[in-house]
């Protein structure tokens, strides 16, 4: 599996960014072996329609799980179509703290209806 987290910087110590599609970085983690990498978000500063394009980017990078804050309508339908499991992120904290919460099973998965 591969977990994606939008972040304000390229490392695990950076904050989870409170916007999904315009976060400057996306951190990719394999929680099983702990391998991480980061992706500069090419759409962070672009005009419209960035939500779907970031979802496309996740698919191209074989992402299966995502921790994200409030997600725009277009990105949401795109995520549903991909089958990526989305975990809601509220509040603030670093990427590593988000991973801890995820591992502890403390993040709620977003369902089709919400």
């Amino acid at each position: 599996m591969k977990l994606a987290i939008p972040a304000s910087g390229p490392t695990l110590d950076d904050q989870v960014d409170n916007r999904f599609a315009r976060a400057p970085y996306i951190i990719l983690i394999n929680p099983e072996d702990g391998e991480t990498s980061s992706l500069a978000n090419p759409y962070a500063q672009e005009g419209g329609g960035v939500g779907p394009r970031v979802v496309q980017l996740l698919v191209q990078n074989q992402v299966t799980h995502l921790i994200a804050p409030r997600i725009g309508g277009h990105a949401e339908t795109a995520l549903l179509a991909t089958g990526i499991t989305v975990f809601m992120w509220e509040g603030s904290g670093s990427v590593s703290s988000a991973i801890e919460l995820y591992k502890a099973g403390k993040l709620a998965a977003m369902t089709q209806t919400s």
Binding site: E46, G47, G48, G49, V50, G51, P52, R53, V55, Q56, V59, Q60, H74, T77, A78, A81, T82
Partner: protein, 281 residues
Amino acid sequence: MHIVIASGKGGTGKTTVAVNLAFILSTEQRVVLADCDVEEPNLHLFFQSQVAEKDVTLPVPDIEKSTCILCGKCGEFCRYGALIVLNDQVLQYPNLCHSCGGCSMVCPVGSISERPEIIGKIQVSDPDPSLHLVTGVLREGSIHSPAMIRAVRKELSSDDLVILDAPPGTSCAAMEALEGCDLCVLVTEPTPFGLHDLMLIYQVVRMFEIPVAVVINRNDNQDTGVESFCREQSIPVILKIPFDRDIALKQGRGRIISRDDPVWREPFSRMAMESLKLAGA
């Protein structure tokens, strides 16, 4: 001859001016009134009558699933996120599409053709034998105000006397309504905010090299800024509408003050004559 009524921002009384100007002119000759404020058209509230409608469309991609090889090229090309390629499908967002036609060009197997997508409708009516009303109504949630305004303007002949009501502000949509007109009447208020917004839109109108006139609404004769700006720039002020509860009330109830209130007929008539002259009639 096309006369456009515009303002630097909403709520200045642009509608009042468009409605009364069109009404007064229509007592003398045939007038076409075009509502280009397509996100919030409201001229029809003042001129109610039977309307005929037609849809306005833009081409959006239509993907043939059976031949698509999911190569990803169209999704990479589209700058607007209007289509994205996932593992098992191409997902489309027609309301984000700008109809640039690029995706069908890049598809290596010719799976993309185009189909019309409705972005809004045009309503036409004849509330009076000498007044023809054309209204553009953008579909809720559509981003295509400029295309919608282009569609409204296609309905207008350059031989007619046309009054256009432009969307407020200096957006791309407002520019679509301004371009190529013979006169632009800017409606403003005599406050520092009014002046600031007036200066912004004046810049744009200047860019198009259109003659300009100003109407001051909610006037209380205490203004310093707007009138001196107009003097400096040699912009004629063709009407001042006082701040008046009675006007606000009537206007809010869909009444045409130059028709229903004899006091108002004369000033609007003078403004109408002045406008025609400035537009080069």
